[in-house]
């Protein structure tokens, strides 16, 4: 299997993990692959394997294994299916998953900033995406109004924002 380049949240590149879609796949204990949730739960739970979630998979099933998991991937079958964003947010914020969280599937460069904010740490882009542009797209915005997994503090807790009088004084 070829290893496509995976973008990381800090803009570097790494290799991907082979993805298993076949539910009848025979798990080899020493082979690092990404398993579908059902297969992972029944056959694996070991630190060698990662797991990938479909939009309908409930991340709650992974709670007992989160400390051991080196990689969780979330699949975007189509780019405009936003469920994976909430799956990521729940894994990070509610279940405190700290390992690598990867977006796979129909992952487009215009989504990188938002994926990064909800807690994804690596991105397997769709094959036709512009790698040069991708790195810059991680930083489309230099600030944010609301808290998210990357920084739970909203702007009003991070900045000393002016009130009406202070702003008027700044303008003068």
């Amino acid at each position: 299997m070829t290893r496509a380049p995976v973008l990381t949240r800090d803009g570097s590149w790494t290799g991907d993990w082979p993805l298993v879609r076949d539910p009848a796949f025979v798990v080899n204990e020493n082979e690092a692959v990404l398993l579908p949730l059902a297969l992972y739960l029944t056959q694996s739970p070991s630190a060698t394997h990662g797991v990938w979630l479909s939009p309908t998979d409930d991340p709650a099933a992974l709670v007992p294994h989160l400390d051991a998991l080196p990689l969780i991937a979330i699949d975007f079958p189509v780019f405009n299916d936003g469920r994976g964003y909430s799956t990521a947010a729940v894994l990070r914020s509610r279940y405190r998953y700290r390992g690598d969280l990867r977006a796979i599937g129909d992952v487009l460069i215009d989504q990188l900033f938002f994926l990064r904010r909800v807690g994804f740490t690596s991105f397997l882009l769709r094959a036709d995406q512009d790698h040069l542009k991708a790195v810059a797209k991680l930083r489309t915005f230099s600030d944010a109004y609301q808290g998210a997994a990357d920084d739970p503090l909203p702007a009003f807790r991070r900045h000393a924002r002016p009130n009406a009088r202070e702003l008027a004084e700044q303008d003068e």
Partner: protein, 563 residues
């Protein structure tokens, strides 16, 4: 009103840069039509029948004179000299070139405006009471809560690909002028018996194909927790809302299929561990944002009786002049509904004039109502007459606010590519039929709302008389409903979805249909009651009988001609 600081300016500018890059990639073929579409929509750009349309947000309906002049400038420079104010406190320009759209957004930055999330499957413009801060019946000013929510929802990373669009409205007055019950989330500001400030939260209301009145999910939500609670509602919706069928993807369908109790349970389960998390709004933040909505420097004025010996002036005062919380001041509604003009349309010249009046007779502020009219919120009593004369000259003093001819209508089949039928000519034909001002005033408040398709941008479900354009074998027909009410005092606070009276009509029958409905009302009306009250009291039957008895032959002939 709210002013941008460094954070706002940076984010809005970076958004325009992002959109400019996306547009350039689309025009050079690097981005496909399908992939560009949702990106342009979330920046307000639709592709319509004749040309792209740009929808610009007027957050919770508040505009400055400077902003309105910029809209006039955009109308002149990039459009055909006019704009269309919508039912969700936005403005649309119908003749935009896609190539120009990034430049228009760039021009908006200078006056602290944007088109962010005015379309697409995201949280849309937060709407509110057009009289916020000045209404005599206001309990709590909603504007700071609207602004905090506007910021929170802008580019929220988790909710940029929702199953469908998401609309939130906030009301802080006794009268609900924001149609809160018809929003995905509706918030009523309130005080608990112990004086604590918070919200009564409704969820799953909406119009569209399946009109539903929002259900109460929380009787009382402390204000500090509202961002977190809304986040939990959106998360449950984002994870579990239907994505297989566009027509069943709104949150109301999820709430209805789960039932409000189960939906609420899932929201509370998500919310409980986050309740006091970092999204909790601080007092400092509320005060900071509220400082931008501090009352302007009102003069100490006395109330005095207006000289209304001039009948035309008296009529205008009766319809257009609204009570104000400050002595000696009034709010003035400028009607964008003269006969022959598409409801909600204003020319660049009119926008400039309204901006001038806002500065001359007020504190430089204008409001936009969901009835598609403009409002000057702080006019002194002794300026009313001069303002009236100037507004009359400008075609902005039609004394029909709240009356039958103050019709709400979407752009319809003349512009919109989603429409099944035209709306604007129907509005005009009704306005022409009811051209006797005395009669209109005698009839009292009647809301006629017209939508060109099921998406209900013209809010037909809550019209006292609702008109919906439908397509039958390629022909335009109109379905009529009765007894809708949006929660405002025009319907005496009632919230109701109109009921369809029967088979639909051809465009040319519509003035007759409305006339028969009105004749029925006049014959059954008791003690000067309102149209909706008569409908509620006697039921739809006498109206139906009158419309279909008299119209039956013509109706059948038309049905046969089509069949």
């Amino acid at each position: 009103m709210y002013r941008y600081d460094e954070v706002d300016r940076t984010l809005v500018a970076e958004r325009v840069a992002e959109y400019r890059d996306q547009t350039a990639r689309f025009l050079s073929g690097q981005l496909s039509e399908d992939e560009f579409k949702p990106l342009r929509l979330r920046n307000g750009l639709y592709v319509q029948r004749h040309a792209p349309m740009l929808r610009i947000a007027i957050p919770y309906g508040v505009l400055s004179a400077k902003q309105l002049r910029t809209l006039a400038h955009i109308a002149r420079r990039y459009d055909r000299g006019y704009g269309h104010f919508t039912t969700r406190q936005n403005i649309q320009f119908n003749w935009i070139r896609l190539e120009d759209s990034p430049d228009i957004l760039e021009e908006l930055i200078a006056v602290e405006m944007h088109a962010i999330q005015t379309s697409g499957n995201v949280v849309r413009n937060i709407t509110s009471d057009e009289f916020a801060g000045v209404a005599a019946d206001e309990l709590i000013d909603p504007r700071a809560f609207c602004e905090i929510l506007r910021q929170w929802s802008s580019f929220h990373p988790e909710f940029t690909w929702l199953p469908r669009k998401f609309k939130i409205a906030i009301n802080g007055a006794r009268e609900d002028r924001a149609a809160v019950a018809f929003h995905d989330i509706g918030l009523h500001l309130m005080r608990a018996p112990n004086g604590a400030l918070g919200f009564r939260v409704l969820v799953g209301g909406g119009m569209g194909r399946t009109p539903i009145i929002g259900a109460v999910i929380r009787e009382f939500l402390p204000w500090r927790q509202y961002l977190t609670y809304i986040e939990s509602i959106l998360r449950v919706y984002n994870r579990h809302g239907r994505r297989d069928n566009l027509n069943k993807a709104r949150i109301k369908i999820l709430v209805r299929s789960l039932g409000i109790e189960e939906f609420a349970r899932q929201v509370e389960e998500d919310f409980a561990p986050l309740a006091d998390g970092p999204s909790t709004v601080t007092s400092a933040e509320l005060h900071r944002v509220a400082s931008y909505f501090a009352p302007p420097p009102y003069k100490k004025l006395d109330e005095h009786a207006l000289d209304i010996s001039d009948r035309a002036f008296a009529r205008w005062v009766e319809r257009s002049v609204k009570p104000h919380r400050v002595c000696g001041y009034r709010s003035v509604v400028l009607s964008l509904k003269p006969t022959g003009i598409a409801p909600g349309d204003a020319t660049a010249e009119q926008m400039d004039l309204v901006a001038d009046w806002a500065e001359r007779y007020g504190f430089g502020e204008i409001r936009v109502s969901h009835e598609q009219n403009l409002i000057l919120p702080d006019v002194r009593l002794d300026h009313l007459r001069t303002l009236w004369q100037e507004a009359k000259t400008a075609g902005l003093a039609t004394p029909n606010v709240g009356l039958l001819t103050d019709i709400i209508a979407c752009p319809g089949g003349d512009f919109c590519s989603l429409a099944n039928a035209k709306s604007i000519p129907i509005a005009e034909s009704i306005q022409r039929r009811f051209d006797d001002l005395d009669y209109l005033h005698d009839l009292g408040e009647i809301n006629i709302n017209i939508s060109g398709c099921m998406n209900s941008c013209g809010h037909h479900h809550v019209g006292h008389i609702g008109i919906l354009g439908v397509d039958k074998d390629g022909d335009e027909w109109y379905q009529v409903s009765l007894g809708g009410a949006d929660g405002s005092s025009a319907g005496t606070g009632r919230v109701a979805i109109g009921r369809i009276i029967g088979p639909s009509f051809k465009a040319e029958q519509m003035p007759d249909v409305i006339e028969r409905l009105i004749d029925t009302f006049v014959s059954l009306r008791e003690d000067g009651e309102r149209f909706v009250d008569t409908v509620a009291r006697v039921g739809p039957t006498p109206f139906k009988e009158r419309v279909y008895r008299e119209g039956s032959h013509a109706h059948e002939r038309l049905e046969q001609a089509v069949a």
